[in-house]
Amino acid sequence: MAAHLSYGRVNLNVLREAVRRELREFLDKCAGSKAIVWDEYLTGPFGLIAQYSLLKEHEVEKMFTLKGNRLPAADVKNIIFFVRPRLELMDIIAENVLSEDRRGPARDFHILFVPRRSLLCEQRLKDLGVLGSFIHREEYSLDLIPFDGDLLSMESESAFKECYLEGDQTSLYHAAKGLMTLQALYGTIPQIFGKGECARQVANMMIRMKREFTGSQNSIFPVFDNLLLLDRNVDLLTPLATQLTYEGLIDEIYGIQNSYVKLPPEKFAPKKQGDGGKDLPTEAKKLQLNSAEELYAEIRDKNFNAVGSVLSKKAKVISAAFEERHNAKTVGEIKQFVSQLPHMQAARGSLANHTSIAELIKDVTTSEDFFDKLTVEQEFMSGIDTDKVNNYIEDCIAQKHPLIKVLRLVCLQSVCNSGLKQKVLDYYKREILQTYGYEHILTLHNLEKAGLLKPQPGGRNNYPTIRKTLRLWMDDVNEQNPTDISYVYSGYAPLSVRLAQLLSRPGWRSIEEVLRILPGPHFEERQPLPTGLQKKRQPGENRVTLIFFLGGVTFAEIAALRFLSQLEDGGTEYVIATTKLMNGTSWIEALMERPF
């Protein structure tokens, strides 16, 4: 069970159950014992859908990672390849199958393509002479994976690069398919809003796909009131800034992968007395982070500066609860105390973990360099000195700080200045190439193509207009009891979320001018509903908006949307979908190119 998926306004467990059912059905088609050969990239996302126990129930006895040459020995009837439809993987599969044929008993081979079957890949298998070896060749349309009660992701790392650099819309097609699946489960979404080239394309594909499905009238009462499709390149700024929420900082510093984080083990060593710190664990501590954990759900979206006080308050409550045992006198009271013990112990464990994580993060955030970096970021975002070479960035390069950090800052400056003066741009580029190596010229080209780093066209800087109209910079930010989404970056209100907020109230008509400055078209489409399914909202009932970030979303943006959902007079609750959960570092990383 994944109870945390059903807490939200939309029960995403329905989706999870649907994809689990599909998986079981496929496994049962291949009767008998099985081994699964995994495209390694898929194991993380699959973990969110099905644990090993489910596979085991369906006679999966062995699991391997897909690699060349022979398959490891396994005494099973079926060998199933779980792969993304990629040509290079087909070559490996063919190698596996061919070397398998030459020895021992015959097996049944199958392929499960995730998320889509591919004619191209099947052709390649045919050319390699192995297509006929596969009994079942099917697709598993795992497009959107539920991560939390209000969060779905395709976990497609390369989506941004493919869409904005390479003109490859495969991930947009998958996104549209994923949205069709959602609509099949949660009803037709009556209104679609969008901003950006990719958003337009996804909307077009959805409308087209709907036409293909005429006939099977969807008779489900719509759960979502509207869909907002947003291109990442409409807001290139937000992911570049350092996230300052608890979850955002964990992600910035340690990287959250498929809802898991790996942390340095020292802080988590069991405190045994007299052990003299001998057997310190060397393996990273792995923790799952989602709203199933009560405490985490409470603090994840807070500004990090507000986390400490919650933790210490919790600590007091828990120790008070444990103290209760002294007051338990009668057998009944003791019994009651004991019955609460497991829950209390879990809470204490959770508190200990998060106290340790918070300490780890604090070590970073209180460092001088972190402070300096943040100051520069905030200056850029509030429009100070964006048009000249920045001292701090220069020093970072001179001291050979990590290249990604430097690139994030330079790109941030470029975006906050609608592009850099040619002289400034060339200076940075030269410094980077000389310091980090000329091979990075390819990375710089990529960043330019993506619009993250560019010369200012015609010497006009549009950013101040955008900043003022959308109120992107708020001087009076309250980190403890926020009143505005700008708390997630301690002053900067994420542009993407501001667009969503303004769409819900008072509507985009009020910001036409800014929308025209931002790239790509903005549009609205309606999908007609049969009269029986039209929704009559109860007074005071919030709308539910599905917001889809094409090209990735950060945890800070998610926090800002959750903040809006929770506003008493907000009027809108959000469910968030994306091609990838990301941060500035993983984003730039994906755009980097290393020729050797």
Partner: protein, 524 residues
């Protein structure tokens, strides 16, 4: 034409109708007229109108002495709906004559038996579905066309869901329609679309496949236009060798796999020039094919960029190439030269110059390796200079910095870091005094402290400018002096910074001093 004509006179007196009918017959076009009449009946929802249309159709049929399967096969296939017909409400009833025909044929034992055996689905299919095969199946003989409207009526009467009922029949009807060789492609396609519209569950591609099977490729293409599912459109178009059309359909769908499939088809079908031209007109397909080439056919990628005069990408291509295969330095430099030339053509002077610098650096690194030994190739310029200093070749490092115009500030950082790594404190001091530091002296303090050399650090702390003085003094642990400076500066932030460094035991006096200064400042 017939449709409108018949339409006009149908409800009128049958006397007149008969006259018209004879006229048509004389023209030798009765078959067609009858069919269209019956089709029209299928369109019509008004029982009266339907009745009339069917009547006209039947009369024509009876008068003509039907060709094709003849009365016999016509009747035998009509026998089954009999029971149904009896259940149809009176107002949708069919003229007595039809009834009679049906009754005559269907009352036999065999007929009854057959009906009992058939489910409604099978019944409908039997009366609607042409069978596959080269010869015209009996169902599509004209005699059968009567049954389409009838079948539809049955469906409506039985309230079958559209997909199971009406849609199937319409699809079957359409398959029959495409076999009418005497009607133009245009008309058939239009007629089919008019009747079928967007009826759910109708597969235009099935109908098109049928048309193609009858050798009517153009009609098939026209019909495919109405097919909303590209996954169905594209394979048939490819089969019919309409690859370019298939390409645009695939692109419309957004299904990149479909686009790839068509592209690989096209690649085999067309000569290279034509293939490239086709790509050129389809930017989305072109970018996909580029991606394909990037992983599968690098040489083709180059040709594509060449064709488009995309010099910027060509430049990047050669940069990549310079790393990929070539081991020898000459080969790498040559690839880089090609890249630089491309960048010049792309008017990207920056990239061209940078690439030329890279060539220069490569050659130099090779020379350094020859002369000094050690590993220099593929180090960055910065790291090359650092390595030189670490190896004690300060002069060469300076020459390198001049040759490549390393900015002063970065050079200072570079030397500072390298000398501190060497713990060559003497050289560092000499360097610090060579001229006024462009990066100030705080970095000197910091780096010495990082190497745990407080003694050296203190030397530089005194030279740190006033703005960073407090910070420097605190770094070397001189809290008392830091306090003095902060008090002198009357800087609140600095005062709190010093205060935060005061540890209870040793710095009590200093802390008091600061508190007093603060109090005094407040008084003023």
């Amino acid at each position: 034409m017939w449709e409108t004509w018949l339409w006009a006179w149908c409800p009128k007196e049958s006397q007149k109708a008969d006259e018209y009918l004879r006229e048509i017959q004389e023209l030798g076009q009765l078959t067609q007229a009858v069919q269209q009449c019956i089709e029209a009946a299928g369109h019509e929802h008004q029982p009266d109108m339907q009745k009339s249309l069917l009547r006209v159709g039947l009369e024509g049929r009876a008068g003509q002495g039907w060709e094709g399967g003849g009365m016999d096969s016509w009747g035998s296939s009509l026998c089954c709906p009999l029971a149904l017909l009896r259940r149809l409400p009176l107002e949708t009833s069919i003229p007595m004559r039809v009834r009679r025909v049906l009754t005559a044929r269907g009352d036999g034992e065999q007929g009854k038996y057959r009906y009992k055996q058939l489910t409604i689905q099978v019944l409908l299919d039997r009366y609607g579905k042409p069978r596959a095969g080269a010869t015209l199946p009996p169902l599509s003989t004209p005699s059968h066309s009567l049954l389409y409207p009838l079948a539809i009526q049955i469906c409506e009467y039985l309230r079958l869901p559209e997909v199971q009922g009406v849609s199937r029949i319409l699809a079957h009807w359409a398959c029959y329609k495409v076999q009418q060789k005497d009607v133009s492609d245009e008309d058939v396609a239009r007629a089919i679309n008019q009747k079928l519209g967007d009826t759910p569950g109708v597969s235009y591609s099935d109908i098109a496949a049928r048309a193609y099977g009858c050798g009517r490729t153009e009609l098939a293409i026209k019909l495919l236009e109405y097919e909303p599912r590209s996954g169905e459109q594209v394979p048939l178009l490819l089969k019919m060798k309409r690859s370019k059309l298939a390409l645009s359909k695939a692109i419309e769908s957004g299904d990149t796999d479909l686009v790839f499939t068509v592209l690989l088809h096209l690649k085999n079908e067309l000569n290279r020039g034509d293939f490239f031209m086709t790509l050129r007109n389809q930017p989305m397909a072109l970018s996909l094919y580029r991606q394909f080439c990037k992983h599968q056919e690098l040489e083709t990628l180059k040709d594509l960029y060449n064709q488009d005069d995309n010099h910027q990408e060509l430049g990047s291509f050669h940069i990549r190439a310079s790393y990929a295969a070539e081991e020898r330095i000459e080969g790498r430099v040559a690839a880089l030269q090609t890249a630089a030339d491309a960048f010049y053509k792309a008017k990207n002077e920056f990239a061209a110059k940078a690439t030329e610098d890279q060539m220069r650096l490569l050659r130099l690194q090779r020379r350094l390796e020859d002369e000094l030994g050690g590993q220099f190739l593929d180090l960055s310029l910065h790291d090359t200079a650092t390595t030189l200093i670490l190896g004690g070749h300060n002069k060469r490092a300076e020459q390198l910095a001049r040759d490549f115009r390393i900015p002063d500030k970065r050079l200072w950082w570079l030397k500072l870091t390298a000398l501190a790594d060497l713990e060559d404190w003497e050289e560092l001091e000499k360097f610090s005094k060579s001229k006024k530091s462009p990066i100030g002296y705080l970095p000197f303090v910091e780096i010495c402290m990082k190497q745990h050399n407080k003694y050296e650090a203190k030397k530089y702390a005194s030279r740190v400018g006033p703005e960073q003085k407090v910070k420097a003094l605190l770094l070397v642990g001189d809290v008392a002096q830091a306090a003095d400076v902060a008090i002198e500066h009357r800087n609140e932030a600095e005062l709190s910074l010093v205060l935060s460094h005061c540890t209870g035991a040793t710095d009590g006096a200093t802390a008091d001093k600061i508190q007093r200064a603060r109090a005094q400042a407040q008084k003023k």
